[in-house]
Subunit: 198 residues, 2 copies
DNA sequence: TTGACACCAGAACGATCGTTCTGTAGCTTA
DNA sequence: TAAGCTACAGAACGATCGTTCTGGTGTCAA
């Protein structure tokens, strides 16, 4: 009995495509794919693409352009458990395929970075000099860490509510709660944090 | 005198393209770009692409396919002082541009990511679930935060010395100092930290 | 030995691609 | 007020796209 009626494609095909994508950040055309894979028939490329699509590695834009699928960037970071011997995560898995950028940024046009000044949020693990990844939006929920504009300067604080008015709470007992007069100007909500230590 | 002879394109064009790319991970065709930008002439799309290419935001593959350029993934870094009025970061200058990856990664081939488990480094602002950017190297200096391999697991600790032997010190009094028997296996040195909070 | 199937080559074909050309409305400068 | 430039629109055109069809291997089970 032939149980497997259609084995998965040569994994090398996917790897070559991932390498190409890592270099150029785009999916090539069928004819380029053909030479990339060492195939000389576009019909077969078409079939391979169909199967990668079925497996979730490729997908289509609404405009019927080929694009990476959900599983295309499947990666693992360095594993938390280490196999015998000194592991080489760079070779063991394709951790490099996803950029840190993608990890932190969902909407590039609404995202910017703000450098942290002072220790007022130290208990939230936010240090002086860290970069806060901010999603710009004019409002936020209580409990969010927000970047607000107070006295023409950016300030990073917890958003909270006191007697019906919004207040900004530091994560450091040595700093006072900020109770803005009038409207509280919110620049955006913290979506992430980046720290360089060397 | 006409000093500016060709002003930069509407920044909204680039933002829309970046958002499209963030969603689909490909650069669309000219006709899709036209509808994305609200333009109905491919000739003008072609000209805009030419200028983005000139500015380093777009580029071409060897096969003459459009791809993101070197500056495509730059992020805005908002300055700590805000100019009068509600700032519009997209238009105001006073924004440096950096890519998060470049900011954190100096040697891609020697850099990997390790996810933090537990609270043993909480006093150093390192929380559970954070990603540590690690520069792989077999040795380190006292005072460095290192990623070591203990009992076949990654662990993040301060490197210190006690009676001539290297020890690993947590940044949390609830955790004990680790005194490895025999050789201490260092995976690398912490070069940065990445945290996603939403 | 004969299907049956997987894997691939090659060519045909309409659709879509990006380039290029002409034209025009609005603004600026001399 | 004429000239010049920018920012588009629209159409024409050859090149390239991806689809589809026919056909040829090689392998393996019946």
């Amino acid at each position: 009995m032939a149980l497997k009626q259609q084995q998965p494609l040569d994994p090398a095909y996917l790897e070559k495509l991932q390498d190409y994508y890592a270099e150029h950040k785009v999916i090539p055309s069928y004819s380029v794919l053909a030479s990339l894979w060492g195939i000389s028939a576009k019909s077969w490329v078409s079939e391979c693409v169909r199967r990668f699509e079925e497996a979730g590695y490729l997908d289509w834009t609404p405009d019927r352009q080929l694009k990476p699928g959900a599983r295309f960037f499947e990666r693992r970071l360095a594993h938390d458990t280490v196999q015998a011997g000194l592991p080489n995560p760079a070779l063991a898995d394709g951790y490099d395929l996803v950029t840190i950028d993608d990890y932190l940024v969902r909407v590039p046009s609404k995202t910017s970075l703000v450098r942290v000044k002072g220790d007022s949020m130290i208990d939230a693990g936010i240090h002086e000099g860290d970069l806060i990844v901010v999603e710009q939006q004019p409002n936020a929920n209580v409990g969010d860490i927000v970047v607000a504009i107070v006295d023409n300067e950016f300030t990073v604080k917890y958003l909270d509510r006191e007697k019906g008015a919004f207040v900004l709470k530091p994560a450091n007992k040595a700093f006072p709660v900020i109770r803005p007069k009038g409207r509280l100007e919110i620049f955006g909500v913290m979506a992430g944090l980046v720290r360089r230590t060397r």
